[in-house]
């Protein structure tokens, strides 16, 4: 009957209808993660904080009203009598214990802090990644010998992990002498085993995955499997960790300055140094400590929140 008539518009109609009722097709891990992060409070707060921080770090030094090291008002503050100068028109955050403009120092300090955080994170990430990939690859594809290599490496990362990170940092600082670089290295080294273990772990998981077995089966060269198959799929936890490390790096750096192993030229403001210096005058002028402290805490919180949000978004078990 009418079955064979006007086939064309039947198809069109059908097409558009099928379009309209959208079928949930698999989106990529990251796009999926990103979608879920957009709806996560933690992620948003974190992102906003970090954005603000990075902005300050970048433009800070340009907009700083005074030289961060200029002791312009040194005759107005009397640490020995507990007399300090708080907020005022000229100095929005008041003066520090040597008559320098806190606001300018704070702004410049942001960049220093970011620098320390990023560099030391990178140190940990890069070295850790190398070690991790090495032992991960060895474990997944190295056969018996590889396994042995892997165990040895992991033993040592174990030991590094077992040592309290500050002790490690302090001793490194002790060996290399004090400098900003030392701080970065010290803080970075502490991160190495974490990254190493992490990458190796997820590589092992990936190594067992079907697609790798498949790749082996069809006889793709090992190096290529690692580089093209395993590694890319193992990265997401590392990225999460990197974000979190930024937070820990900033805090550890502050801790080092508190232990007197911070940047030897305290004239160059860095929040950690500023905090540990201001802490002595906490009773007389709490705000002096408050500014850098708040800076550190908020920033660290920002990175941690974002990292946690990412971790959750990427975790298949916690979906839905």
């Amino acid at each position: 009957m009418t079955i064979l008539t006007n086939k064309a518009d039947k198809i069109d109609r059908l097409a558009e209808l099928t379009q309209s009722s959208e079928a949930v097709t698999g989106t990529s891990l990251w796009r999926e993660a990103f979608r879920r992060m957009r709806s996560s409070k933690m992620a948003i707060i974190g992102a906003v904080i970090i954005g603000a921080f990075v902005l300050v770090a970048i433009i800070g030094p340009w907009v700083a009203p005074h030289g961060p090291t200029a002791q312009n008002w040194r005759s107005e503050v009397f640490p020995n009598q507990g007399k300090f100068v708080g907020m005022r028109g000229e100095n929005w955050f008041g003066l520090d214990h040597l008559g320098r403009d806190m606001f300018s120092r704070w702004l410049v300090g942001a960049r220093q802090t970011l620098l320390v955080g990023v560099v030391s994170m990178l140190i940990g990430l890069i070295v850790g990644a190398l070690v991790g990939v090495l032992s991960g690859a060895a474990a997944t594809l190295g056969g018996k010998a590889g396994q042995r290599v892997d165990t040895v490496i992991m033993r040592f990362t174990d030991i590094m992990l077992s040592l309290p990170s500050l002790l490690l940092a302090v001793s490194i600082a002790a060996v290399l002498g004090q400098s900003l670089t030392t701080v970065m290295i010290a803080v970075g080294v502490v991160q190495i085993p974490i990254f190493a273990r992490l990458l190796r772990g997820s590589m092992l998981v990936q190594g067992g995955a079907d697609y790798v077995l498949a790749a082996k089966a069809v006889g793709i060269r090992r190096k290529r499997i690692v580089l093209t198959q395993i590694l890319p799929n193992s990265l997401s936890p590392v990225i999460v960790q990197a974000t979190l490390s930024l937070a820990t790096a900033i805090i550890e750096a502050a801790a080092l300055s508190y232990l007197g192993l911070g940047n030897p030229d305290p004239a160059i403001p860095e929040w950690g140094v500023m905090l540990s210096q201001a802490q002595r005058f906490f009773d007389n002028e709490p705000m002096m400590a408050a500014y850098p402290a708040v800076g550190i805490i908020i920033t660290a919180l920002g990175f941690t929140l974002l990292g946690e949000a990412m971790r959750e978004a990427l975790d298949p078990k916690l979906r839905g």
């Binding site: 009418t2 079955i3 039947k10 109609r13 059908l14 209808l17 099928t18 009722s21 949930v24």
Partner: protein, 330 residues
């Protein structure tokens, strides 16, 4: 009136940041005392969601449930959490698909059985243990006393499923919902399990709602069959009637796609083309249309009504059903 009567049950998932997805879209069916009713359909047709909705096991948040589900006079869907807890396990019980993951790995079988006896029948200590043993024995687990002390991972797949069944029937529920109870098992075990279920139903007069994609299971077990497609019943009839005269093109297709020994040699199987993903919203017309061999423009004008084109009680949701004439193979 029937023990369980479901009317226009609909379940919609409203996840944050996602489009609402309607899994069940107006399913209606009924189950009587001692009757075995099957819900059949490919995965994703909403049969499991239906069962969870009935048990009230769907999450409170992010889910919209509509319609009615009368269990001897009470609407399960609007029932209070507390009352539902009392009903679950005693009045209605459920058997799940994957026996391993459905058992708590760190709690001995015994406790997992006795806890339900304790909850609903107030049995405690030695009494409960005896009862549990006899339950395991009844579902055909040898040496029950020892098994009670064992952990799930120490049992075989079949054993685990039997254990789950034992828990389900522990309080002689009036309605038993089995969601793909055999899919995770070897064929030989499947048969045993089905056998077990059948005899339980016969002895206790328990009503059984069998949810499966496996027409074989249906053929072996069910009195009534409801074929679901995209969250709606498209055909429901008695087992014989359905197998003899599948009338909805989908049901027809399903049956057509099973290999049969009595088919003449060399005759090709004719599977249903496409997948459940290329469908259209029921509101716009017949969801099956995109995969249907003989749809017409009419198929695309609003939801088709349930009709009884063949015999009374054989309901079909289709504007041009597969009728005897079209049925004869060329």
């Amino acid at each position: 009136m029937s023990l369980l009567s479901v009317e226009e049950l609909s379940v919609t998932f409203t996840a944050r940041g996602r489009k609402d997805a309607t899994a069940v879209d107006g399913v209606s069916f009924a189950v009587d005392q001692g009757q075995v009713v099957g819900l059949v359909g490919e995965s994703g047709c909403g049969k499991s969601v239906t069962s969870l909705a009935l048990m009230g096991l769907l999450p409170r948040k992010g889910v919209r449930i509509g319609g009615r589900a009368e269990f001897d006079g009470q609407n399960l869907l609007t029932m209070s959490e507390r009352k539902l807890r009392d009903m679950r396990g005693s009045q209605l019980a459920m058997i799940f698909q994957d026996p391993l993951s459905s058992l708590n790995p760190v709690v001995p079988i015994g406790i997992q059985v006795t806890e339900i006896l304790e909850r609903h029948r107030g049995l405690k200590g030695e009494k409960a243990r005896k009862e549990a043993a006899s339950l395991l024995d009844r579902v055909g687990i040898p040496d029950p006393a020892r098994r009670l002390k064992e952990y799930p991972h120490q049992l075989s797949g079949g054993m685990r499923q039997r254990a789950l069944i034992a828990m389900a029937v522990a309080c002689a529920p009036r309605l038993l919902i089995a969601d793909e109870p055999t899919t995770a098992l070897d064929v030989t075990i499947q048969a045993q399990i089905l056998e077990l279920l059948k005899e339980l139903v016969d002895q206790e007069g328990t009503a059984l709602l069998m949810i499966t994609h496996d027409l074989g299971v249906v053929a072996g077990l069910c009195d009534e069959v409801n074929v679901l497609y995209a969250g709606r019943a498209v055909e429901s009839a008695g087992r014989r009637e359905l197998f003899a005269h599948p009338t909805h093109p989908y049901a027809h297709g399903l049956l057509g796609s099973i290999p049969r020994l009595d088919a003449p040699r060399g005759e090709p199987l004719n599977p249903i083309r496409g997948s459940i993903n290329d469908k259209i919203a029921w509101a716009d017309g017949c969801a099956f249309a995109p995969r249907c061999d003989h749809y017409t423009m009419e198929c695309l004008t609003g939801t088709p009504e349930l009709t009884e084109p063949r015999t009374a009680g054989h309901q079909v949701r289709c504007v041009n059903p597969v009728l005897p004439t079209a049925e004869v193979p060329a």
